[in-house]
Symmetry: C2
Subunit: 399 residues, 2 copies
């Protein structure tokens, strides 16, 4: 696998464009990703029971196996907006389809921003012709920027693999910096690839990749109403059709997992106000679900996250959060490590040099490991600290 | 019911004292509550799987139906301290018993403070004789102060009821300001009463009262390793024995619930860095457990709590947190109210004057109501906002 420059338009026959439609006061807020040929498409969506209108429309349009474009706006989530919101999301696909000479079912739609404000659909409608007209290979980067809300960094990535004689490219962009929690991190992610693959295989590859990446991160325990990951595979690179049982499939999966993992890490590192990148590993658990619940409880513990921000080696909060997860384990067997340093052994504090411990907490990247000594299941989650800047950023989001 | 001045020593035949033993650098950190006669006792303890040594010892000593004293230290949780910790907690009861002319099983023990640091038991041992010597009626207030950690306000309360010809008194003290979440808010609470009651009845009354008070508050979603509520009823007021089926029992329950609710509210109002008192009510839920899960998800939502701090009327975060609770409901029937103002009706935003909405968020006390329109279950939780001061307070707790 080779990392290459670029993002959403590095794969063959993909173009993109972005502009300011007026949803946001300034900066681009409307974007289009387009495949010149029909692409096998699939998606994964938020688990939130309250789902935004674009989530509903994209789910519906994915009933058609191929898609050819994704239209996305930032600055407004188009959620809790009732019938008007659903009409608006549909209108976005209809007008884009009309301008591209396609059916509305060929277009997927996404939104991100504030909940409960009617989407200014007229502004968007007026901008779609220019959006279509400006489609280009060079437009990929501008789309990565247009989907940002509180993000501070552009998140895009691209890679190339060899399958048979063909060079296959995958590119991805993502947005997300807050409202991030396992079960689909709160975020948008779009992936394009020119691989020739069946839909079954693409679905499986996406499910695996998301499980190990976006579903294993948490910034604040929140799951948004608008999360989605969409992938379009347009087979423009040619070559044999890849199905689930072929060796080439594993190669493709590996590349897709690399892409989603790196984008997920970029989201965590860009976490609102984040000053730390924290890997939490639960080892030797009796079950995957138990390991996951403990990992999530730790990743979302306000007290632990503030201690991490303060570089305060108060690891008692790790033990307390694990115990409060509701998962059964023997507290007299519990071990806790900060990086490689064991601080708790069989439920009892280990005498540790405090200065040395503080040095671990002063690092940018911190590893917390819990060993339950009950089974052999492992679960890992990436998270951040909770800083003064997170509060400042989120205390005044709409005002 | 009459509110009277005082706290833990207003009921007949209770005395108390407190002093600085050196566990904390300054301020009192060791306290004793004593009944001159054996008292029916019972307790409720943390649900955390990691439990501090004093929790284990008090549970054990409650196997004896009567108790006569509670010894408690602040500044050190005596948790994750292994065999040494359990020996230390036992030693506290042994030495107090010895000085009071009692058995160690007559003494309950509690601790609050940092986890994972050996309890300096020698300092405590040396201080117990003075603690016993200083016992007095006037000592009640000093005990309420001695159990404080990050608390800014002393939490004590007392009331009187008439049962038959007897005047019955109940008094209580509590500590807690962070690590507060349903399932026994992270806190200590001690209640004394001179009522004449069976243990069965006392247990039931306590369970009811805690369910409606301490288990219905959340500051930060954390459940500590040291939580406990202990009650001693020494029958010094005389009168007929109260059992579960007597009318007088309901009278007593009502007074106890009043006491625990008021103490619980004091804890929330003293929440670390709290600037708001927020009541979250889930109405017309299909089940109690579902209502509770949604209430808890909202009370612990970092995004909602920061919006409350920022007085930002971003109620979309309420809808999003409810949807992410994992509880089934129909999002197209969801109503949300801020105080009496409906902002979401049947899943769709209601046009509201933004200035008026901001005025609601500027109030000290805010009521959030979610109407699920599915059944008739109701659950209420009291919580706070998440402020810059919370982070400042908790980022450097041990350092």
């Amino acid at each position: 696998m080779k990392i290459i420059e670029g993002g959403i338009t590095t794969a063959k026959s993909f173009k993109a464009s972005a502009l300011n439609s007026g949803v946001k006061k300034s900066g681009s807020d409307l974007a289009l990703i387009y495949s010149e040929v029909p692409a096998i498409a699939c998606g994964m969506f938020t688990q939130n029971r309250v789902q935004a209108a674009p989530v509903k429309v994209s789910r519906l349009h994915l009933k058609k196996i191929t898609s050819q474009a994704i239209i996305v706006n930032s600055g407004n989530a188009n959620c809790c907006t009732g019938k008007h919101g659903e009409d608006a999301a549909l209108a976005m696909t209809e007008i884009a389809a009309n301008k591209l000479g396609l059916e509305k079912e060929d277009i997927l739609v996404a939104s991100t921003g504030i909940i409960g404000i009617p989407l200014p659909i007229e502004k968007i409608k007026k901008s779609i012709p220019a959006l279509v007209k400006n489609l280009s290979k060079a437009g990929g980067h501008s789309v990565a920027k247009a989907i940002m809300t509180t993000d501070k960094t552009v998140k895009e990535l691209s890679c190339e693999i060899k399958i048979g004689k063909q060079s296959i490219r995958l590119g991805g962009i993502a947005k997300g910096a807050g409202m991030i929690c396992p079960n689909m991190a709160t975020m948008l992610c779009f992936i394009t690839t020119d691989v020739h693959i069946t839909r079954r295989a693409l679905k499986l590859a996406l499910k695996r990749a998301v499980g190990k990446s976006f579903n294993s991160i948490s910034i604040d325990g929140e799951t948004s109403t608008n999360d989605m990951v969409l992938v379009m595979a347009n087979s423009a690179a040619g070559g044999d059709l890849i199905d689930r049982h072929k060796e080439d499939f594993e190669k493709f999966c590996h590349a897709l997992e690399y892409l989603t993992s790196e984008l997920a890490k970029k989201i965590v590192k860009d976490g609102e106000g984040a000053t730390k990148f924290v890997e939490i590993m639960i080892k030797n658990a009796a079950s995957n679900s138990g390991a996951r619940r403990i990992a999530k409880k730790l990743a979302n513990s306000i007290l632990l996250k503030t201690a991490l921000f303060g570089e305060d080696p108060n690891w008692g909060r790790i033990a307390s959060a694990a115990g409060a997860s509701g998962v059964k384990f023997n507290p007299h067997k519990l071990d806790i490590y900060i990086d490689q340093k064991r601080v708790l052994k069989d439920g009892t504090a280990v005498k540790v040099d405090k200065k040395e411990l503080i040095d671990h907490f002063k690092k940018k990247n911190i590893n917390i490991t819990i060993d339950l000594k009950r089974g052999n299941r492992v679960y890992k989650v990436w998270t951040t600290d909770l800083s003064l800047d997170y509060i400042k950023l989120n205390a005044h989001y709409t005002t």
